[in-house]
């Protein structure tokens, strides 16, 4: 089997600013402002063709950050992500324009995905049929219920023919029949050798669909392996966690959060990182030279105009 997604030592760091102006000053000065927060730290895994990966973890464990990284919505701070094919992210109501009607959203999204006019015409009835929102398709999306939004979002993303599908809790708002429909579609995808990442809090959903499960805990991989074993461990963790008193829970969370907040040495391919930095500096140098020349030229010609 060919590897479809390879993540090596991926970390995502966020800087938490206190004020709007700090953001700006951080750009121009090298002095550090704000706290750093590692949403993900040193994530490495490999996923093959036709696999379905379930991702579990409690709130704040970095599931959505991971899905955004996989969908290439946000870049990793360090590390590398190799994707073989186009990825498409489905989360609740993302990427829908609230002021446009359902049908216009279908058209716009398809256009942005680069489908041709002919393809859009062909795929639109399929999407409408799949989303199953009846007469509401001509209404603005802002009037939709959350279930309708999720269904429309899922239907559009599924029909734009992605190689890697990332489903971020999108099915939790749908009812049983829609869930069945999605399951069928996902199994279809699986047969075609597409890779699916399935994020959910519902253990039963994960169990029924995934080949392997990735358990994230406060920005780190806790366990990655067979569905059965990981889910068993996760389940017992949840039980253990729920049995703690409120104070202990808070204590546990605080400890873990502190860990995420500390600036730790992340594993990075130091050699290649250095090389990239040098390269970047060189590139910047040529930019400064060229734009400086242009600026000088415009200033001198501007002055010349006064004579």
């Amino acid at each position: 089997m060919k590897p479809k997604v390879t993540m090596s030592n991926v970390s995502k760091k966020y800087i938490l600013y206190k004020k709007q102006t700090d953001k700006f000053f951080d750009l121009i000065s090298s002095k550090k402002r704000g706290n750093t927060f590692y949403a993900l730290r040193n994530i490495s895994f490999r996923v093959y063709e036709g696999e379905t990966i379930g991702i579990v973890g409690i709130n704040g464990s970095g599931k959505s950050t991971l899905s955004n990284l996989l969908a290439q919505v946000i870049p990793p701070t360090t590390g590398s992500i190799e994707l073989n094919g186009e990825s498409s992210l489905i989360a609740i109501s993302v990427g829908l324009n609230n002021h446009l009607s359902g049908i216009e959203n279908i058209k716009l999204k398809c256009l942005m995905h680069g489908l041709s006019e002919y393809q859009i015409k062909k795929v639109t009835p399929e999407i409408i049929d799949f989303a199953d929102i009846g007469k509401f398709i001509d209404q603005p999306v802002k009037n939709y219920s959350s279930g309708m939004k999720a269904r429309l979002g899922f239907a559009i993303s599924v029909h734009t023919n992605p190689d890697i599908l990332i489903v971020d809790e999108a099915l939790s708002v749908g009812d049983k029949t829609f869930y069945e429909k999605c399951l069928r579609k996902m199994n279809e995808f699986k047969k075609e050798g597409k890779t699916i990442f399935f994020i959910s809090h519902s253990i039963s959903q994960i169990r029924s669909i995934s080949d392997r499960v990735l358990w994230l805990s406060f920005g780190k991989i806790e366990e990655f392996g067979e569905t059965k074993t990981v889910l068993k461990n996760y389940d017992s963790f949840i039980k253990w966690f729920n049995n703690l008193s409120n104070k202990e829970k808070q204590q546990y969370k605080d400890d873990k959060l502190k860990e995420q907040l500390t600036e730790q040495r992340v594993i990075e391919g130091s050699y290649s990182e250095k090389g990239r930095k040098m390269n970047k500096q060189n590139r910047n140098k040529s930019f400064y030279l060229e734009s400086g020349l242009l600026f000088l030229l415009s200033v001198s010609t501007g002055l010349l105009m006064f004579y």
């Binding site: 680069g114 010609t301 105009m305």
Partner: protein, 270 residues
Amino acid sequence: MRFVLQILKEQLLHLNLILRICNYDLKSRYQMHYLGLIWEFITPAMKIIIYWVVFGLGIRGGEPINGTPYIVWLLVGLIPWLFISPSVIQGVNSVYVKINLVSKMKFPVSVLPTISVLSHAFNFLIMLVCLGIVLIILQINPGIHLLQLPYYLLCLFVFLISFTLLGSTISIIIRDFQTMLQSGMRLMFFLTPVFWDPSILAKSYPAILTFLKLNPLYYLIEGFRATFLGEIWFFNDLVYTLYFWSITLFILFVGSFLHMRFRNKFIDYL
């Protein structure tokens, strides 16, 4: 150069996408309106009439400028202006408006300002045709100077795309830029010779006129006037042409650099 080339490459690679989204934009802009695309004519026509009545009939008393009827003289400057002003204001805002839609998918963000500019260009081209009809009716012959129209169109598009590329990045990082630009453009309307004749100022205060000329929009507006009213060639004032291109390319260079540097982080700045 690398950054500029990459931006240009992205524009060319996605030309088809740009045109299709422009087309969609145009259709959807007036979708809730009963008159639809007719508004694309009514809005500028109203503005032209207002400016003609106020400045032409009111202030100048309907007097022609250098033998050209004032309405024609005004149209030649105002039509490019009615394209420049909304393109700049909305183009600079384009990334901010669409980033939520675009960030959840792989999409070349650099084409957003271009889409914004080009979707206004449709209206501009129609207005140019209208201008041609007016010139024919009034039997004003631009003569051989009309040949420089493609050159000035090129100037116009390169400048607008460069400026909106730069501005769209700045306005994400510093939201005040957008608001500042809105009032700035209102000021620019009076500082470029859209409705007033620069030749009067040239006699009394030449230094002030040269100062106003530093504004690249001045070059564009006067360029269109020279094209249609047959005054001079663009290479008659080489220093000014050189100035315009160097400042436009400077904006393009800085714009591409900033865009490439921040495009992955746009979503973090909202």
